[in-house]
Symmetry: C2
Subunit: 318 residues, 2 copies
């Protein structure tokens, strides 16, 4: 078996069992069927070894994260995921590495029946670039712009866990420890796809928290040309985070840590009553963390009303 055949064999099973793939892996391009009345939603995310994950990260976790970061972008648009293509650059084609990588990717794609429909495998320094494609009923995509004065700001899940987990990757604590919970949150994030879909027609703006809450809520503020004002005391923090870090560090991680892949969104105050019901249905915490006001930029306030500042307001891509 050539390396080329090996790669084909590893990825071909990730076909999602879909009936909207007219031509999948193996031709010059994939041919895909979008349901009528829907728009195509497309995004791309790249993970570079040593930059976006440690050099000793397991191939399973690399595959998982590549899938999850992309599906999270679709979640933030309220889209239903359908297909993905993979641009994989590898120093060499190691069968064990490839199998474990494909398993990690499949673990994220399979629950949503996302089909891997094409790709390009090249030799070079380890770089994983996945493009995810999905659909949304025409005109219903969630956007960063759209928040209105008086809207309330919500975030799903807990914040800061992934940034904490990244610091604890080498920690020898056992699998049921708070440290292991935090590591898992970095290595195997959960894209909030069901939540994104449920927010269609409900949220006035939405983004996924990949660069850190302050940075990403700031994107909502600037795209909506308004100010977002968050309350530090209510930022949701996990028991694991609070068990491993002092309160000040935990707050800094929750406010600025990246890679959580939770959704931050705004909605009219009158819709707030629906949030506890939705949280129960989706088994996912939804916390009101602030309001939208006239003005610009992002404010994080202490309980006494003073503005808090951090030296680093989120992950900078470059």
């Amino acid at each position: 078996m050539t390396e080329f055949e090996l790669i084909e064999r590893v990825f071909r099973p990730l076909d999602g069992g879909r009936d909207d793939v007219a031509i999948g892996i193996g031709d010059d391009a994939a041919v895909l069927q979008l349901p009528s009345g829907h728009e195509l939603v497309a995004c791309v995310d790249t993970l570079v070894a040593g930059v976006h994950f440690p050099l000793d990260c397991s191939p399973f976790d690399i595959g998982w994260r590549a899938g999850a970061t992309n599906l999270s972008d679709l979640a933030a648009m309220g889209a239903e995921p359908r297909w993905a293509t993979l641009a994989l650059t590898l120093p060499q084609a190691d069968p064990q590495w490839l199998s474990a990588f494909a398993e990690g990717l499949a673990a994220v794609l399979r629950p949503w029946q996302v089909a891997l429909v094409g790709g390009d495998t090249t030799r070079g320094p380890l770089t994983v670039s996945l493009q995810a494609m999905g659909s949304v009923p025409a005109g219903q995509a969630l956007q960063r712009g759209g928040a209105r004065v008086g809207d309330v700001v919500y975030v799903s899940g807990t914040l800061g866990d992934a940034a904490a987990g990244l610091q604890l990757l080498a920690d020898p604590a056992p699998a049921d420890s708070p440290q292991a919970f935090l590591r898992q949150r970095f290595l195997q994030p959960t894209p909030r796809l069901a939540l994104g879909r449920a927010l269609r027609g409900l949220a006035s703006s939405c983004i996924d928290v990949s660069d850190g809450l302050l940075a990403d809520a700031g994107h909502l503020a600037s795209a909506s040309e308004l100010q977002i004002c968050l309350r530090a005391a209510v930022l949701p923090q996990s028991a694991g985070l609070l068990a491993c870090f002092d309160a000040a560090t935990a707050l800094r991680l929750a406010a600025t840590g990246g890679d959580d892949y939770e959704l931050c969104f705004t909605l009219p105050h009158a819709q707030s009553a629906k949030m506890p019901v939705l949280a129960r249905e989706l088994d996912c915490a939804l916390t009101c963390i602030g309001v939208v006001r006239e003005g610009s930029g992002l404010q994080l306030l202490a309980e006494d009303g003073t503005a808090l500042a951090f030296d680093r307001s989120g992950y900078q891509h470059f």
Copy 2:
């Protein structure tokens, strides 16, 4: 201006001026409108510095090749190109490099009004991964499988130029020399999009010649589960190729050299009469180079009927 803003500013003008982009660069994902009755066609191609182009390749040419290799895949499907996303990994954000790269990419995308609708720029070893998306009327995509016994095999343009040009990159010959023509064919290939579209409903199978004619025609043969038999004496070779190489080397390059991005396709013999008309309309040579027979694999025959063999039947990805 931060590096992030710089990157935004460089790529935002590549919007293609299209009205089928509901949300372009700047949100978590792009939202795109496929015309009803059409299928989505998607592909991805990666260029790694030092593997797919020389380390001293100009950023303009890197941008051009990234665009052209992807649009060529859409051409091979008979698709109309619409949108692209870019995963760009760079050692650093050099404004001059980025501007020249974007100009090269735009030079290929603009004639087809292809919009760059999203991307991810990351720090790392230079790797360019472009995903192109287009459309084809439902059921009309050209495929690798589909050739029938008795079909004739055609190829567009001339073969071997790009492989020759790669060997001559350091040659100091002036701009109007055959050497410069060959270099140009490697650095700035032309995706055969108009030809691909014209072949809908006409060609029984189609592929672009990226890995070398023998390898790619071999893909048509195996996908169609038939044999393709090519005549060495009629493989189209440019005056530039024949001016720079002896006949035996020129033939080897034409048969096995990659990166030409011409289309190789099959069609019923009765349709052959349309080819000279099409060639004139598109200003693109179309040469009949063989036939489809019962059997399997690829044969290249000398004029006396003996089979020719080369030690390298095309570019191996790994």
